[in-house]
């Protein structure tokens, strides 16, 4: 395969449908909540009853613009919807209202990083459209059942140029799209529930060739992992076909997550003529620059900007900054902690370490974490000031604070007797006891085995039940060991 991968290259384009997290549908007031009883969020408008008319949900337009701004797209000011005409039982009106000629967001790009190398994936467009209902083929032996709850849900379709060149890039791109939609709050990004859906267009060509190879569209990809696996499989399949002199035919294929393979569901789009024309039931809508600007202003700081700030202003490593910016709520929590302390690096360590560990272990989202950022700041300050040592603070004290979150870190540390002792008299006793217990080691140390200092420190820690300030202990030990005896 490695020889073949030097000879051929894959070109991939992704079409991502994201259900917008609005309260109501794109063209009527029905709820879009997931998981309701079938056909309960269906007004006459959703069902396409005779005489009904659409009315555009402004929030959906706003969300599409937010995503466009986040992806550096050009926002189209003069917009209209078009009808895409086709018959299918889950399409109540016999046409889908979509933006055919004028996508609300044109161009744009999304930055990804693969194997440490950063690049921008070019977008073709982001446009608004309504979702169809859901056909359910497997709950009745004789009939297909249709649930129209989803019909009319607002979607944005984010379409890349054929600008991805490996399954890993596709994986990174999708991960980034998911983070972005969640970050700005326009979509919950849940692929399992279908709020984020992806179709992959894959083609393979000889390296150096400028013309695109015949493409295959892969559908039914309900996780980011599956998208990667399906693309890997397709690249492999097509490469071998080309190598064997076979001709690739334009197809739509479906991914089978059981076997990690794809199978053809139809050959080359059966020349579907959708007969697009401007939706006459909705007047064209013009966006004022001031409206676009206000959306831009209300947009939260994006991950890339925050990472830059954390790296360059706070001096964090790229890795730490990236870890903090995986999720907006984490990044915001971090920002809130740093409002109380300028121990930036320590704050990052606390959040990326013990806090995340606790949250993961207990399957709690940061938004429901009982400790306020100020409390974490207090906690880390105790460590930074040498009052409690980190390992004690990150386990015992953290848990104590979670259990009794109305008490301060200092109160609890005192109550639990966790404060480090730096009082020389008390320390002196422990130091002497430790050295007395290990006369042989003391001799070895004095002969030059200076690494043994750690052993002595450890012993003092044990004796003090962790309360001895290791810095002070070390200097006391050194003083004793190096001094005349």
């Amino acid at each position: 395969m490695s020889i073949l991968s030097n000879k051929y290259e894959a070109v991939i384009g992704l079409e991502v449908h994201a259900q917008l997290a609005t309260k109501s549908k794109l063209f009527c007031g029905d709820s879009i909540a997931f998981g309701a009883e079938p056909n309960t969020h269906v007004s006459p408008i959703t069902l396409g009853h005779p005489g009904t008319l659409p009315k555009t949900n402004k929030k959906a337009v706003e969300y599409a613009i937010m995503m466009g701004i986040a992806c550096h797209c050009e926002i189209e000011k003069d917009n209209f919807f078009a009808r895409k005409n086709y018959f299918y039982p889950d399409l109540p009106k016999g046409y889908q209202v979509s933006q055919h000629t004028t996508p609300i967001c044109k161009g744009g790009h999304i930055a990804i990083k693969t194997d440490g190398v950063a690049r921008s994936v070019q977008l073709n467009r982001i446009h608004l459209e309504e979702d169809a209902g859901k056909s359910i083929h497997d709950i009745d032996d004789d009939y297909t059942c249709v649930d129209y709850n989803r019909a009319g849900t607002p979607l944005i379709e984010i379409v890349t140029e054929p600008d991805l060149f490996s399954a890993e890039e596709a994986y990174q791109y999708l991960t980034e799209v998911r983070r972005l939609v969640r970050w700005i709050g326009v979509c919950d990004g849940n692929m399992e529930e279908g709020s984020l859906r992806c179709d992959a267009n894959v083609s393979v060509r000889l390296k150096g060739e400028t013309k695109l190879g015949t493409k295959v569209e892969v559908k039914n990809l309900n996780s980011i992992r599956n998208v990667k696996t399906a693309i890997e499989h397709e690249i492999d399949r097509m490469t071998h076909m080309l190598e064997n002199g076979e001709t690739i035919i334009q197809q739509t294929r479906s991914f089978d997550a059981g076997s990690n393979t794809t199978f053809a569901i139809r050959d080359k789009e059966e020349a579907n003529d959708y007969r697009y024309f401007a939706e006459p039931d909705l007047p064209p809508f013009h966006l004022q620059q001031s409206f676009i600007d206000s959306i831009k202003q209300a947009l939260p700081a994006l991950p890339a900007a925050l990472m830059g700030k954390y790296e360059h202003e706070f001096g964090l490593s790229e890795y730490d900054a990236a870890q903090l910016c995986q999720e907006k709520e984490i990044a915001e929590y971090y920002a809130a902690v740093t409002a109380h302390t300028n121990h930036y690096k320590a704050a990052a360590n606390w959040i990326n370490g013990p806090v995340k560990h606790y949250l993961n272990e207990h399957k709690i989202h940061i938004s429901s974490f009982v400790l306020k950022p100020a409390q974490i700041a207090d906690l880390l300050l105790l460590v930074e000031e040498g009052k409690v040592n980190f390992s004690v603070a990150s386990v015992k004290l953290l848990h104590a604070m979670i259990a009794e979150h109305h008490k301060t870190a200092l109160q609890l540390a005192t109550a639990l007797n966790l404060l480090q002792v730096s009082d020389a008299n008390e320390l002196e006793t422990w130091v002497s006891t430790a050295l007395e217990r290990m006369p042989d080691k003391v001799k070895e140390y004095r002969k030059g085995k200076k690494g043994l200092i750690g052993l002595f420190v450890g012993e003092v820690k044990k004796l003090s039940k962790g309360k001895a300030d290791p810095k002070v202990v070390t200097s006391l030990l050194e003083e004793k060991l190096n001094g005349a005896d």
């Binding site: 018959f87 039982p89 046409y95 007969r275 006459p280 007047p283």
Partner: protein, 481 residues
């Protein structure tokens, strides 16, 4: 014996105790029964209308006041307007047993002002036709001559007013479907400008052309009804948000002299009945004598209006009628179909009538890849040019007048074999729908064959007030004859 002239007089009679709503409804129910051969109604809400009338009478007794601007006004609805809990079939087999689950905005507004809805009117299937011969439930007969058509597509609604089967009725006008039957039946038919009345609850034929219209015998009644049903609606975003003027008050502009244009090519059109041409030319002279300025303007696009209209409306119709697929409601093929496609074919083939199928196919064709630019795009260009032309004319004139229809009501069956000739009957009316301007047909004349015919007037977009005032003047001048 109950008699009706205007809403205003009726309301005076109600307050004088000379009549009541139950008497009115009983009268119309009797009239409908006596005239059932006209086939103007598909359904009469007899009990319901009587109950509502009794309720309104009681309301008046208790409050010594009318419940609204249309208190006790007996109204009929074209069978394309949705009335919750009532059947609405668009005179089509495909919706024969369909019951609406919500009210059209106009229905809500009528009821709010105290109107009594007495029934639903027969019409051409999905409002497609100019003679009412395309109804799945039989032709409607013209009350002036039962061998002639009442016009279409709102034939039943026109005849209901013509034959005193109700006080006023609502139709829909996509290319003349209110004005043309009004012309054929000798009554007033008004189509306000596009977006003046909410289309929510109006079964769509061609969305960018459709407009609900009003049939009445008195222009005052048209003004009152328009005031009630027009205006902004949260369920229809194509409705104008400009606040409504006081339409009844607009009728008081006595003595105003108008600048009126007519299309020279229209009055010289070879398809125009000679007698109609002559009568209208004489009437133009009369208008001039009354001090109005009436001038010809050149309009060399006349021959393009009908083709452009049929391309654009059928394109929209082909899409609008896709929802009638037998899946969610309406007629569905029984179990003997092979697959989904066969189910669609069987349901739609049996559900739709010939004219509707013709227009769906025509509309699908003009939107098809390869033909799109030659037909659809070109027709859109024509529409744009017409719009600009109209703007230009209204810079210099208050109104445009023309014959409403090139000929008086024809005989049933006379044109039904020739769709093109039928389409050409719309030559003077489609202009107002292509450009979206308000238009009216006022009953002024009688043909030597005994049939009435009217004059069409059109005003600038958003200027229904002038249209109503001018109509009053046109009728007044005629009465002076």
């Amino acid at each position: 014996m109950f008699s009706f002239s205007t809403i205003k007089d009726y309301h005076i009679a109600l307050s004088n105790g000379h009549t009541n709503c139950v008497t009115a409804v009983s009268f119309y129910i009797k009239q409908i029964e006596v005239n059932s051969h006209l086939n103007a109604f598909l359904e009469v809400y007899k009990e319901e209308a009587l109950e509502r009338a009794a309720f309104l009478d009681l309301f008046y007794q208790k409050n010594n006041a009318l419940s609204g601007k249309l208190h006790g006004v007996v109204v009929a609805l074209k069978d394309v307007i949705c009335y919750k809990g009532h059947k609405v079939s668009a005179s089509s087999r495909i919706l024969e047993n369909y019951t609406s689950i919500y009210n059209a905005t106009v229905v809500d507004r009528l009821l709010q002002e105290g109107a009594i809805i007495i029934g639903r009117n027969n019409c051409d299937e999905f409002a497609m036709g100019s003679s009412n011969e395309n109804s799945a439930f039989g032709s409607v007969l013209n009350a002036a001559d039962n061998a002639r058509v009442p016009g279409g597509s709102s034939g039943g609604s026109a005849v209901s007013v013509q034959a005193d089967l109700c006080m006023l009725s609502l139709g829909s006008d996509t290319g003349g479907s209110v004005r043309q039957p009004a012309d054929f039946c000798g009554i007033i038919g008004m189509k306000p400008g596009y977006g003046k009345i909410s289309r929510y609850g109006l079964i769509a034929y061609a969305s960018s052309f459709d407009q609900i219209g009003i049939f009445a015998k008195a222009i005052e009644d048209v003004a009152v009804t328009l005031q009630v049903i027009a205006g902004e609606d949260e369920f229809d975003s194509t409705v104008s948000t400009i606040p409504l003027p006081d339409y009844p008050d607009a009728l008081n502009s006595n003595g105003k002299k108008y600048r009126i244009a007519y299309f020279r090519q229209a009055l010289d059109h070879p398809g125009l009945d000679g007698e109609i041409a002559t009568v209208i030319k004489e009437y133009i002279e009369l208008l001039r004598e009354q001090g109005h300025v009436v001038e010809p303007v050149e309009f060399d696009l006349l021959d393009y209006v009908v083709p452009a209209y049929y391309i654009l409306t059928t394109a929209e119709a082909s899409s609008n009628l896709s929802r009638f697929d037998g899946i969610k409601y309406g007629y569905a093929a029984k179990d003997d179909f092979d697959d989904l496609t066969d189910f669609y074919k069987q349901s739609r083939s049996a559900g739709f009538g010939a004219e509707v199928k013709r227009r769906i196919m025509l509309g699908t064709f003009v939107l098809s890849a390869g033909y799109y630019d030659a037909y659809f795009t070109k027709a859109q260009k024509v529409r744009r040019i017409l719009f600009d032309k109209t703007q230009e004319i209204f810079k210099s004139y208050n109104a445009i007048i023309s014959p409403t229809v090139p000929s008086p009501a024809f005989r049933i069956g006379e044109k039904s074999s020739d769709p093109i000739e039928m389409f050409l009957a719309d030559i003077f009316t489609v202009f107002a729908n292509l450009t979206g301007i308000p238009a009216i047909s006022v009953p002024l004349f009688k043909h030597s064959n005994g049939m009435p015919f009217g004059l069409q007037a059109m005003t600038a977009f958003e200027d229904e007030a002038t249209l109503l005032a001018l109509s009053k003047e046109l009728i007044a001048i005629n009465n002076h004859l």
